[in-house]
């Protein structure tokens, strides 16, 4: 009985630590992102409060707490209040199965630095992140605002489209590891002496792109595209409820980075350094931070893509490529071929796809020219009539 009580206590303590850690990470990620973006744009960024602006998140939090939380008269109140809570609940819950580090010395198993290890860990994260869309859709719908609704619908379409590629590209790693448990996948990478990014470069890139779209980060932040939709589903939210949405976005980012780290970069392992007690957690955090920096880098570099390009990328590029990756990995696993065949194949496919994408991005000859304005080839006018030459020219 006391064993069960101890396990419950351990679970409770670890949950509190993880939630507090995630919220703290969120607060300082906002600061880091602003500083990093400022660097990219040759600005300074927030640096007034405390050394390097380290007190800025606290000031932001205070400001958010004291802001008025407006509920529009058009809003469906219950759902409007519930929606941000769904978002943050799902975001925090999804993080529950992420293993943060190796076993800590001789401590019993329930004190090891992972909240839990369920045998369908990867599926659990996929399931929870697939629920994240409800927070956004319900928030957008219940606001009673046209722009909010449009943002919500965009988000739903985007998430459903990219979930398919996410699941299929993760299947490659699951096949190589032969387990769905997050801790099991890390152990498989140590026992097979590779990081799965070497065997699955294609799956890694595909999952990275699709996950970026799934968490609505730039360049896939169409649901909150400020030029077209004011702020999408966020338009009517203010104060703490607005920051709940921000919180869930950043926590989803952390979860995605953790999944990338665990599945492709060997989790907490780093060439035997993880055997020094306590260092495994640090290694894990550094790897996650690396991915978070890449996310900010992408935001600073890439412009937001157009909606039709988003759908085309998801269904016509990412999904066929991830099925291809799945087939090659299945061949490797079924016929017990060495892993580097899949790795070389993935790299070649990536090179070809990258070359094709670069060709696609080059400015093309405009297909329709009307009165000197060149329209991109994807824009279709309702009716294009070849105008006869003006008769005035003939007269003169």
């Amino acid at each position: 009985m006391s064993q069960i009580a101890l396990e419950l206590l351990a679970a409770l303590v670890k949950s509190v630590i993880i939630i507090a850690g995630l919220l703290g990470a969120f607060a300082y990620l906002t600061l880091i992102e602003r500083r990093v973006l400022a660097r990219f744009q040759r600005r300074v960024g927030p640096n007034r409060l405390g050394p390097f602006g380290l007190l800025q998140p606290i000031a932001d939090a205070l400001k958010m707490v004291f802001k008025e939380q407006i509920i529009p008269t058009q809003a469906k109140t219950v759902v409007f209040l519930l929606a941000p809570t769904i978002s943050i609940f799902v975001a925090i819950t999804a993080f529950g199965v992420v293993p943060l580090g190796d076993k800590l010395g001789s401590l019993p198993s329930y004190w090891q630095p992972a909240l839990t290890d369920i045998n369908v860990g990867v599926l659990y994260i996929l399931a929870m992140s697939s629920l994240a869309v409800y927070g956004i859709v319900l928030g957008g719908w219940s606001s009673g605002n046209k722009y909010s609704l449009l943002g919500a619908l965009r988000s739903a379409a985007q998430m459903v489209s990219y979930e398919v590629s996410i699941a299929i590209s993760l299947s490659g790693v699951i096949m190589l590891a032969g387990t769905l448990s997050m801790i099991g996948i890390v152990h498989q990478q140590t026992s097979q002496h590779i990081w799965f990014i070497l065997a699955q470069p294609l799956g890694f890139v595909l999952y990275g792109i699709a996950a970026l779209a799934e968490v609505n980060r730039a360049p896939f932040d169409l649901p909150e595209a400020e030029q077209e939709l004011t702020a999408g589903y966020l338009t009517e939210y203010s104060g703490l409820r607005w920051s709940l949405y921000q919180m869930s976005e950043y926590i989803n980012m952390i979860t995605t980075s953790s999944v990338l780290t665990t599945l492709y970069l060997g989790g907490w392992t780093f060439f035997g350094l993880e055997n020094i007690p306590g260092l495994s957690i640090l290694i894990f955090i550094v790897k996650v931070a690396l991915f978070l920096f890449v996310f900010m880098w992408l935001r600073a570099t890439l412009p937001r893509i157009r909606y039709d390009m988003l759908m085309k990328l998801g269904w016509q590029v990412l999904m066929p490529l991830s099925v291809l990756n799945l087939l090659v990995t299945a061949y490797i696993v079924a016929f017990q071929q060495p892993w580097w065949i899949a790795g070389v194949f993935g790299l070649i496919t990536l090179l070809i796809a990258g070359y094709a994408a670069a060709g696609e991005m080059r400015p093309k000859k405009a297909s329709v020219v009307t009165e000197g304005v060149a329209l991109p080839s994807s824009v279709r006018l309702v009716k294009v009539e070849s105008t006869p030459p003006p008769e005035t020219a003939a007269i003169s």
Binding site: L126, A127, Y134, V137, L138, W141
Partner: protein
Amino acid sequence: MSANILAFSAVAALAIASGIGVIAFRNAIYSALSLIVNLLSLALFYLILNGMFIAAAQVLIYAGAIMVLFLFVVTMLSSDKAALQTADHISWQRLVGVIAGIIFAALASFLLLIHAQIAPDAVAQGSNNLFTQISAPGSGNTETFGMALFHGFLFPFEVTSAIIVAAILGAVVLGRRSRAKSED
């Protein structure tokens, strides 16, 4: 054991309440939300039965993908005129519903009274005991499920996927045709 029964009762109450909500709400969006809660409580049932994989798949596919599409369509179509008309369009539906409900309740209570069980012989004959393997306690893991799906039930699985492909193709053909007509 008592904790199991307690958990079951709580989830069952949630499932029944949300099930009533699906048909009782006048607003289509609240009905859809009730259906989501209902599907999630089904996932909780699977968890109580130790079916981890099925529970995760239930959340991922039904609550995470299918219901998102439902909600997508409902929010797009009925943002303002969400409340349905109160008049019944099919008046005999209620009568048939009541009769069917009475018949179902009678049959279920009859089976409960005579302590009916699935005959073990019939289960044992079905596809190499896979049925008993899956329904054994604590075996709801991914491997057992995969073995059952791709060895015991491979033929139904493949037939189902063929049916789904046919349905998708049909939907695409019908959608294309109506759009082509409207453009003329």
